[in-house]
């Protein structure tokens, strides 16, 4: 299932010029460069989940999230993940990247993504907002 990528939220990108004073000129650059990768990993994750390809979906999870799926299900991540009832994600509607953390809003779900040495990985999916509190997520790093 193909998903469109649109509506990047760029409010979090600190303008580069203002940070020259503080000798930290690269605040915004790295994060901005990561947005397509963030969307891509989330899109691929849901594509794999929808195809019931647990192995591929698990390979896109952060290590701690993978371990949490295994711990909670008592079976391998690829099998345990498919026991989870994730909502139908839909298209990407808004992506926010801040440093090595990102949030992706989709039509039917919200995902959190973080950057690791091997690239961006999904740290939480199936997340529902709770006013004034952290999102409640079906799958997340413990």
């Amino acid at each position: 299932m193909a998903r469109l990528t649109s509506g990047y939220d760029v409010r979090m990108r600190a303008p580069l010029a203002a940070l020259v004073l503080a000798c930290t000129p690269v605040l915004a650059g790295c994060a901005a460069a990561g947005r397509p990768d963030v969307d891509s990993v989330v899109t691929h994750f849901y594509d794999a989940y929808d195809r019931r390809d647990g192995a591929t979906a698990c390979s896109l999870l952060a290590p701690a999230a993978r371990q949490e799926v295994e711990r909670a299900s008592g079976v391998s991540c690829s099998r345990g993940l498919l026991r989870e009832h994730l909502p139908r994600a839909g298209n990407v509607s808004r992506t926010t990247v801040s440093g090595d953390q990102a949030q992706v809003h989709l039509g039917g779900d919200t995902a959190f993504v973080a950057k690791f040495p091997g690239g961006w990985k999904v740290v939480a999916v199936g997340c529902s907002p709770k006013p004034g509190r952290p999102y409640d997520c079906e799958v997340e790093a413990g």
Binding site: D9, R11, M12, R13, A14, P15, A18, L19, L21, A22, C23, T24, P25, V26, L27, A28, C30, A31, A62, P63, A64, T96, S98, G99, D100, Q101, A102, Q103, F112, A114, K115, F116, P117, V123, A124, C127, P129, R133, P134, Y135, C137, E140, A141, G142
Partner: protein
């Protein structure tokens, strides 16, 4: 070379310890940041990554803005306010911007005065306030940098905790932003205020920041 070092030893000394402290801050800051990353099951960062991170930027900028604000306020407040007996204060009868003669401006400028002191007009007016203007500009730029780096750092933390990020306008009214700001301001105001009072009664022999050891406590604006 030796003469240059001696003539500029104060600036060189503070420049060097500034750099040493900044390096120390960056190394310890990276260690603390990486400890938190590991606690959050996130990837650690390299030294280069930390140097260009919003976490390092906000920590640097919040201290810079408060230091420059401290000196800006002191430069401006001491034009009008006095502390009788303090070496940091003018005499009570000298408050205000003083006369052109006292300030050696325009026709009263000595032969070796900076051109901007005797040229008159806008140039002299700007030069007459240039110290405050530059200190104020650095303060506001640092405070802006603190807010910009701060919102990026804050949002990174928000996302790590699975919470929504906020806009810059929302961030600058958060307790986080004002707590970072005010905890620095209060310490600067205390330090500069107490120094003004301490210099009435205490002495540091040889320091221009102190009155001469034998000067009476009531003597105001007398450098040692």
């Amino acid at each position: 070379m030796r003469s240059f070092v001696r003539d500029n030893s104060l600036s060189l000394f503070f420049g060097l310890i500034f750099l040493a402290a900044l390096v120390g801050q960056s190394l310890t800051g990276m260690a603390e940041f990486n400890q938190q990353q590991l606690a959050d099951s996130m990837a650690t960062v390299s030294y280069a990554q930390y140097l260009t991170s919003s976490d390092f930027a906000v920590d640097v900028a919040e201290n810079w803005q408060s230091e420059y604000l401290q000196f800006l306020l002191y430069i401006l407040a001491t034009v009008w306010l006095v502390q009788r007996g303090s070496v940091e204060s003018k005499k009570p009868e000298e408050t205000g911007t003083e006369s052109d003669k006292d300030q050696q401006v325009g026709a009263y400028a000595p032969a070796d005065a900076p051109r901007s002191a005797w040229s008159g007009g806008f140039r002299t007016a700007v030069f007459s306030s240039s110290l405050g203007l530059v200190m104020g500009a650095i303060f506001f730029a640092s405070w802006l940098a603190q807010s910009l780096a701060g919102v990026a750092s804050y949002n990174q933390q928000q996302l790590t905790q699975r919470e929504d990020p906020v806009s810059w306008l929302s961030y600058v009214v958060t307790p986080e932003f004002w707590n970072r700001t005010l905890q620095n301001w209060q310490s600067e105001f205390l330090a500069v205020g107490s120094m003004a009072v301490f210099s009435v009664y205490l002495r540091q022999r040889g320091s221009p920041e102190s009155k001469p050891v034998g000067a009476p406590h009531a003597a105001t604006g007398v450098e040692g």
